[in-house]
């Protein structure tokens, strides 16, 4: 038999964790409200029956305030599921029961699952389940989603409830649902220990003196570990792909494939894809697990808390800090995350400015160029430390640009301001190995897969541009020469600017296109060390100013095609999608022109006074 079940509940109660445990899927989980912004579905088999689960974004009530709450409300009210499971946090039961009571007014087939029972026990919280069942008049189960035996108990509980008749609908009248929930919890929940220890961490992390510096230190530390840890694995991957290429070459010769097609496959697709994997994968394997650990501990909402003043000055709210953090991995994910912002004008501003956070594709290029030109003058730890510091400065510049552009956009738009209310979850001990594995699987590999899929057609386009000749010049060089005068104003050259244009499908391929353009070989290079890259760039008239302009343009320019399509899907507006392309391009252009002019001025002054 086939059964449909809805998982509803407040944000950050563990719906997705239970969903993943049941279905084996990998919904993204983390310790902050608003993690899930879209409904997801999955199935599991139990005792020869199929159970289809719909995991909804968290909602505090059925009065929808933001888009993801609207999704939950619509599905709960309109979809005729066999059972609705309201999942509540045992450490904060009142809000969960408030939502439960709201749902019970419209739907009788509801049960309650109290999650995080282990955390409640650790915090000295005792819940009298029998008394709670007596008051609520619905079946209740208490579990800890991390424990396998609890998940099995949950499956058995669901199976049993689906056979129940839910004729008797509990009836609550008079007081508001929140008042009723508070009264019921007052009778059924006892708490003995204080929360002093949690406050100590919060007092340090949010203090006037230490709060912001600690945040910056965490970010710098994560970046430094990423920069210093990524180089050696990248080189190993380059070597591995070079060896595979030899066998691939022989295989294609063996099957007598046409030489042009072979060139497209190897020099176009294989080289582009292997570059993307070699450059992207090592930083992602380090950055994402570290970031996910911070996320699981509960650090991210504290960032939103600390920075709310800055966002308020920009006309928005601290929740944008969370969407910017998501954008550090992938801007398309950051744009989707903007659903947690309830005000439409702030949501649009957050979507348009999300690209000022360097996504993983641009991240790797910033690290490479920073390591070559900024850290390159030094050796050992100083090299990686300075490179990381410069990348941190670029991220801070991205943040400041976000504030500035957000302020302008929110001033021009006339929608209502947000009512910023942020729940700060308790700190949770992360399950380190599980977190690392999960971040590798559901972040790293997913983004890598997208990058590989995008780099395949991009590789074909690059090959065509580099190998189709008009007269004695390739199409690539013709386009580069055409763009060169404008690029020079930006402190770049035609090859660099063309690389950015061709890399619209994926930012990861900017650097390999630049290298291919300079080598004029019609193919991507196999194996190029940082030293060789430096030599190549210098031979093509790069200076430190060129490198800085390239990094600035990379940081601030238009988002990739996937992000633009996501913006169209979220905003439902071609106008805002166009603005999401035009505004960052304008900002990047103005910034690079300014830096270029300043460098020319400084150079001339130096010559004058020398």
């Amino acid at each position: 038999m086939d059964h449909s079940i809805i998982f509803a509940g407040n944000p950050n109660v563990g719906k997705s964790t239970i969903f993943n445990a049941l279905t084996g899927l990998n919904q993204h989980t983390g310790n902050w409200s608003g993690k899930t912004v879209d409904s997801a579905s999955g199935t599991y088999l139990f005792n020869e029956d199929i159970y289809r689960i719909y995991d909804l974004p968290g909602t505090y009530s059925l009065n929808s305030d933001s888009p993801e709450e609207e999704i939950s409300r619509q599905i709960i009210t309109a979809y005729n599921a066999d059972l609705t499971v309201v999942i509540a946090d045992a450490t904060c039961l009142v809000k969960g029961i408030n939502l439960l009571l709201s749902i019970l007014k419209i739907n009788k087939r509801v049960v309650l699952c109290i999650n995080l029972a282990d955390e409640a026990k650790r915090n000295g919280i005792k819940i009298d389940i029998d008394l709670l069942e007596k008051h609520l008049k619905i079946p209740i189960i208490s579990i800890s989603a991390k424990r396998k035996k609890d998940i099995l108990s949950f499956k058995t509980f669901i199976e049993k409830q689906l056979r129940n008749d839910f004729d008797h609908r509990p009836f609550f009248e008079g007081k508001s649902t929140m008042k009723t929930a508070t009264d019921i919890c007052g009778l059924c929940v006892t708490r003995k220990s204080s929360r002093a220890s949690a406050c100590i961490y919060d007092k340090i992390l949010t203090s006037r003196r230490y709060g912001i510096p600690i945040m910056l230190c965490f970010l710098c530390a994560v970046l430094w570990v990423t920069v210093s840890g990524a180089n050696y694995p990248s080189q190993l991957l380059f070597d591995m792909f070079s060896h595979i290429k030899i066998y691939l070459d022989k295989f294609l010769d063996y099957i007598y494939i046409n030489q042009t097609i072979k060139s497209i496959l190897i020099d176009g697709i294989y080289h582009t894809t292997s570059w993307v994997v070699s450059v992207m994968l090592p930083p992602m394997l380090i950055f994402f697990p570290l970031f996910t650990l911070l996320e699981d501990i509960g650090f991210l909402p504290r960032i939103a808390f600390n920075l709310d003043k800055c966002f308020k000055c920009a006309g928005t709210c601290g929740k944008q800090a969370l969407t910017m953090c998501m954008g550090l991995g992938c801007n398309a994910v950051g744009v989707t995350g903007c659903r947690i912002i309830s005000s439409e004008k702030e949501r649009i501003a957050a979507m348009i400015t999300n690209c000022f956070m360097p996504c993983n594709g641009r991240f790797s290029m910033l690290i490479t160029l920073s390591a070559i030109f900024i850290g390159g003058a030094f050796t050992g730890m100083a090299n990686s430390f300075l490179a990381a510091l410069f990348v941190l400065l670029l991220i801070i510049l991205g943040i400041l640009t976000t504030f500035m552009v957000t302020k302008i956009i929110t001033k021009l738009l006339k929608y209502n301001n947000t009512n910023f209310i942020l729940e700060l979850p308790s700190y949770r001990r992360p399950q380190i190995l599980k977190t690392i594995f999960r971040s590798i699987y559901d972040r790293t590999l997913v983004i890598l897969k997208r990058a590989v899929l995008v780099s395949i057609p991009a590789g074909v386009i690059i090959w065509v541009m580099a190998n189709i000749y008009i007269g004695s010049t390739s199409a690539f060089n013709i386009c580069a020469d055409f763009l060169d005068p404008f690029a020079r104003i930006l402190g770049l050259d035609g090859v660099i600017l063309l690389a950015f244009v061709l890399a619209l499908p994926a930012n990861e391929i900017v650097l390999p296109i630049i290298i291919m353009g300079y080598l004029s070989s019609g193919q991507m290079t196999d194996n190029i060390s940082l030293t060789e890259l430096h030599t190549l760039f210098v031979a093509n008239n790069w200076t430190i100013v060129t490198a800085i302009n390239v990094m600035l343009f990379s940081l601030l320019h238009f988002p990739c095609a996937t992000t633009l399509l996501t913006i169209k899907s979220e905003s439902k507006s071609w106008f805002w999608t166009f603005m999401a392309f035009a505004i960052p391009t304008a900002v990047a252009t103005i910034t690079c022109i300014s830096v270029n002019l300043c460098s020319i001025l400084v150079e001339n002054l130096y010559i004058l006074f020398k």
Binding site: M178, C199, K309, N419, I421
Partner: protein, 82 residues
């Protein structure tokens, strides 16, 4: 009885909410987090830039801005401080 606006409560002091004088929309949203008359509330800590305060209310920590907090009227409780 001494009435205060919530933003004037010191960290660690307890108070009961007396009334919420915001728009209906904000009031509804606050209610979802446990902000309603007779709720016990206590400021836990303030943000570095002092525009946001985290309040302990009904077993959770909820941060609201001072411009909303000043519209919430509370009566100080004589209970134990943190």
């Amino acid at each position: 009885m001494n009435f205060f606006s919530l933003n004037n409560l010191e960290c660690g002091e307890f108070a009961y909410i007396y009334s919420i004088n915001t728009t209906t929309e904000i009031k509804k949203r606050l209610e979802e987090f446990g902000f309603f008359p007779e709720s016990l509330i206590s400021p836990a800590f303030r943000s570095p830039f002092r525009c946001l305060t985290a309040y302990r209310i009904i077993d959770s920590l909820v941060a609201i801005r001072d411009d909303i907090a000043e519209k919430i009227i509370v009566i100080k409780s004589a209970e134990v401080k943190y």
